[in-house]
C-alpha cells in the first residue's frame, strides 16, 4: 500500500463524508429542533436527485438542476411539514416518526411510478469530466468539485448556526422550546424553515451524490441508512456530531473498500457497534 493510494482513499472518504454532511445535518437539525426523526429524509434526497436528472435532461444545464431541484424539494418539505407533521406536534413523537415512514413509502413509489426502476445517470458538463493530477495522485474532477462544494455549504451552514440570529434561535430551540416561544418567536415558523432547509440540503446532496454515482429507486433507504449511521455515531441533534460522523463514516467506507473488498459496507456498521458499546449517546452530544 503506497502513499498515493492511501491519499486517494482518504480524499474519497472525505468527499463522500462531506456530501453526507449535507444529508445528516438536515436530519440531525430537524430532530434537534423539532424532535422529529424524518424517515422520509432519504426519500427527499432521492427526489432531489431525480428532479435534478429531469432538469438536466430538459435544460442541459447542470447548475440549473443544482439550484432548482433543492428549491422544489424544499417546497415539498415545507408542504410536508405544514400539512402532515404539524398537526401531530404535542403527541407521542413516535406518531410523527411513523407518519414519515408512510411518507417515505409514498415518495419511493412515486419515484418508481414516474421515473421507473432503471438506473439513470445525470449528465455532467464537460469541464467536470476527466481527472486532476496533484501530489502524485489522479482524482476525478467532479469528486474534487463535490468535496469543495459540500465543504463550502457545510461551512456556510456552520457559520449560520453559530453566528446568525436564526442560528441562535435554532440552537436555543434545541435546548428549550418553551422559553424560545415565550420570547415571542414563532416556533412553528422556525420548524417550517428548519424542515424546509433540511429538505433542500438533502435534495442538494441527492443531486451531487446522484451525479457521482447513479440514480435508482433504492437509493433513498441507502442514503437514509448512511445518514442515520452518521447520526448514531456523531450524536443526535448536533451539527458538529453530524460533521464528525459523516467524515468518519466516509473515510471508514473508503478504507473498508480498500482493505476488505466486498465488505466495505460492513465496516461502517462495525464502527457503529463500537460507538454504541462505548458511547451509546454518540461521540458528541448536543452542542
Amino acid at each position: 500500500m503506497d502513499v498515493s493510494l492511501l491519499l486517494t482513499n482518504l480524499l474519497y472518504g472525505i468527499t463522500i463524508g462531506s456530501a453526507l454532511i449535507l444529508i445528516a445535518s438536515g436530519l440531525s437539525l430537524t430532530f434537534g429542533v423539532m424532535g422529529v426523526l424524518n424517515f422520509a429524509h432519504g426519500g427527499l434526497c432521492m427526489l432531489g436527485a431525480y428532479f435534478g436528472y429531469t432538469l438536466v435532461q430538459i435544460s442541459g444545464n447542470f447548475w440549473l438542476a443544482m439550484i432548482l431541484a433543492p428549491l422544489i424539494v424544499a417546497f415539498i418539505g415545507f408542504l410536508m411539514e405544514s400539512f402532515t407533521i404539524r398537526p401531530l406536534y404535542g403527541l407521542n413523537p413516535l406518531y410523527q416518526l411513523l407518519l414519515t415512514v408512510g411518507l417515505a413509502m409514498i415518495i419511493a413509489n412515486t419515484v418508481l411510478l414516474v421515473w421507473g426502476g432503471d438506473q439513470l445517470s445525470i449528465i455532467l458538463p464537460d469541464y467536470f469530466k476527466g481527472y486532476v493530477t496533484f501530489l502524485g495522485i489522479f482524482y476525478p474532477r467532479f469528486r474534487l468539485f463535490v468535496l469543495f462544494f459540500s465543504a463550502t455549504v457545510a461551512i456556510i451552514l456552520w457559520i449560520t448556526i453559530r453566528r446568525s440570529k436564526w442560528g441562535i434561535v435554532i440552537r436555543a430551540g434545541m435546548h428549550d422550546l418553551e422559553t424560545v416561544n415565550a420570547f415571542g418567536i414563532n416556533i412553528f415558523r422556525v420548524f417550517s424553515i428548519v424542515f424546509s432547509i433540511g429538505a433542500g440540503l438533502a435534495a442538494l446532496a441527492g443531486v451531487i451524490i446522484g451525479s457521482m454515482r447513479v440514480l435508482n429507486p433504492e437509493m433513498d433507504f441507502e442514503l437514509l441508512t448512511s445518514a442515520l449511521l452518521v447520526v448514531v455515531i456523531g450524536g443526535m441533534g448536533s451539527f458538529r456530531g453530524a460533521v464528525v460522523g459523516s467524515l468518519l463514516l466516509g473515510i471508514t467506507e473508503a478504507f473498508g473498500a480498500q482493505f476488505f473488498t466486498g465488505a466495505a459496507k460492513f465496516s461502517v456498521w462495525a464502527l457503529m457497534v463500537i460507538v454504541l458499546l462505548f458511547r451509546p449517546e454518540g461521540l458528541l452530544k448536543e452542542d
Binding site: 430532530f31 424532535g35 426523526l37 424517515f39 402532515t84 398537526p87 401531530l88 403527541l91 413523537p93 413516535l94 406518531y95 416518526l97 411513523l98 407518519l99 415512514v101 408512510g102 411518507l103 417515505a104 413509502m105 409514498i106 419511493a108 413509489n109 412515486t110 418508481l112 411510478l113 433507504f221 441508512t225 442515520l228 449511521l229 447520526v231 448514531v232 443526535m236 466486498g262 459496507k265 460492513f266 456498521w269 457503529m272 457497534v273 454504541l276 458499546l277 451509546p280
Partner: protein, 315 residues
C-alpha cells in the same frame, strides 16, 4: 365465556375453509389466508414488543429474513425434515435477537426505532451481497419439508393447517405471556419505565427478554415463509417489510394481540386487491392510508382496533 364462543366459531370456520375451495371459491384464497397467518405470527411477536412493552422496532424484517434464509439453506442443503431447521431457526433467531437487543435497548423511543432500522439494513445489505446465500438472487427451489413420515407440506391445504396451527399456538403463548405477572411488568415498562424500575424490576432485562421472544416469533414466521414460497429473496429484509409489520399492528390496534392478526389480514387482502390494479405501486396507497390514519385519528388507531374487536365480540 362470552368471548370464547365466537372465537371457537371463527376457528371452526377457518378450519373448514379449505373444504370449500374449488367449490365455492378458488384455491387461491387458501394460500392468501396462509400468507395472512404467517404474517400474523410475526406481527403478534411485534405486538408483544411494541404494543405491550412500548418499544417500536422498525427492523423486524431482520428476523423474518434471517428465519427464512436459515430454514431455506437448511432445507436445501441438509434435511428434508421441517423440525430440525425450525428448532435451529428458533434458537438462532433468539441469539440474533439477543445480540441486536443488547445493543439497541440501550436506547429508547425514537433512537430505538432507528437503531433497529440500522441493524435491519445491515442484514439487507449482507443478503444482497453474500454469494453463499445467493446474493441478490436469493434462494430458489427450496424443497417442501416433511413434518411427519409421509406427510410433506406440498399441498396448499397441509400448509394452510400447519400455519393456522402455528398461529393459534403462537397466539395462545403470547396471551399467556401478556396475562402473566411478566406481562404486567411489560405493560409497566410501557406506561412508566422509571416507576417500574423503582419497584425493583430490572426493566432492561424485561425489554431484552421481550425482544428475544419477539425475534423468535419473527424467525419462526420467516421459516414458514421460506417453506411456503419455496423461495427466499433479500427483499424479505427490505425496510418496506418492517414498515408493513408496523402498519399491520397499528391498523389492527397495538397491544391487543387480536388486532395485529386482523391488521395482517386487512393489509394483505388490501395489498392483494390493489396490486392487481397498480402492480408495485400499491405500497404508495398503503403508505397514504397509513399516513391518513395517523393524521386523522392518531389516538384512534387503538380505538379502531377496539371497534373491530367489539364487532368480533358481537359476533
Amino acid at each position: 365465556m362470552k368471548r370464547i364462543i365466537p372465537a371457537l366459531i371463527l376457528l371452526a370456520l377457518l378450519v373448514a375453509f379449505p373444504w370449500g375451495a374449488e367449490i365455492f371459491y378458488s384455491g387461491f384464497y387458501v394460500s392468501l389466508l396462509t400468507r395472512i397467518f404467517i404474517f400474523a405470527i410475526i406481527v403478534v411477536g411485534f405486538d408483544l414488543l411494541a404494543g405491550y412493552t412500548g418499544m417500536v422496532s422498525y427492523g423486524h424484517a431482520l428476523f423474518f429474513g434471517t428465519g427464512a434464509y436459515l430454514t431455506g439453506m437448511l432445507l436445501k442443503n441438509w434435511t428434508p425434515w421441517f423440525w430440525p431447521p425450525i428448532v435451529i431457526t428458533l434458537l438462532a433467531s433468539g441469539v440474533v435477537a439477543y445480540i441486536i437487543g443488547y445493543l439497541s435497548i440501550r436506547t429508547r423511543h425514537i433512537y430505538f426505532v432507528f437503531l433497529t432500522f440500522a441493524f435491519a439494513q445491515f442484514f439487507f445489505v449482507t443478503a444482497n451481497s453474500w454469494n453463499f446465500i445467493g446474493a441478490s438472487n436469493g434462494l430458489s427451489a427450496i424443497p417442501k419439508p416433511f413434518i411427519l413420515p409421509g406427510l410433506n407440506l406440498s399441498g396448499e391445504n397441509s400448509f394452510y393447517y400447519f400455519s393456522l396451527a402455528s398461529l393459534f399456538i403462537g397466539y395462545l403463548l403470547a396471551r399467556r405471556i401478556t396475562c402473566s405477572a411478566f406481562g404486567k411488568i411489560m405493560i409497566g415498562v410501557r406506561e412508566n419505565e422509571e416507576r417500574t424500575l423503582f419497584l425493583g424490576y430490572n426493566t432492561k432485562k424485561v425489554i431484552l427478554r421481550v425482544f428475544i421472544i419477539s425475534g423468535i416469533y419473527g424467525g419462526f414466521a420467516g421459516a414458514l415463509m421460506a417453506a411456503f414460497n419455496s423461495f427466499v429473496s433479500p427483499s424479505l429484509y427490505h425496510p418496506a417489510v418492517s414498515g408493513e409489520i408496523i402498519i399491520m399492528a397499528l391498523l389492527g390496534g397495538m397491544g391487543t394481540l387480536v388486532g395485529p392478526i386482523i391488521g395482517s389480514g386487512l393489509v394483505i387482502i388490501l395489498g392483494d386487491i390493489l396490486s392487481s390494479w397498480l402492480a408495485e405501486s400499491w405500497m404508495m396507497i398503503l403508505g397514504a392510508a397509513f399516513a391518513l390514519v395517523i393524521l386523522f385519528s392518531p389516538g384512534g388507531m387503538m380505538a379502531l382496533g377496539r371497534k373491530i374487536n367489539n364487532l368480533i365480540k358481537r359476533g
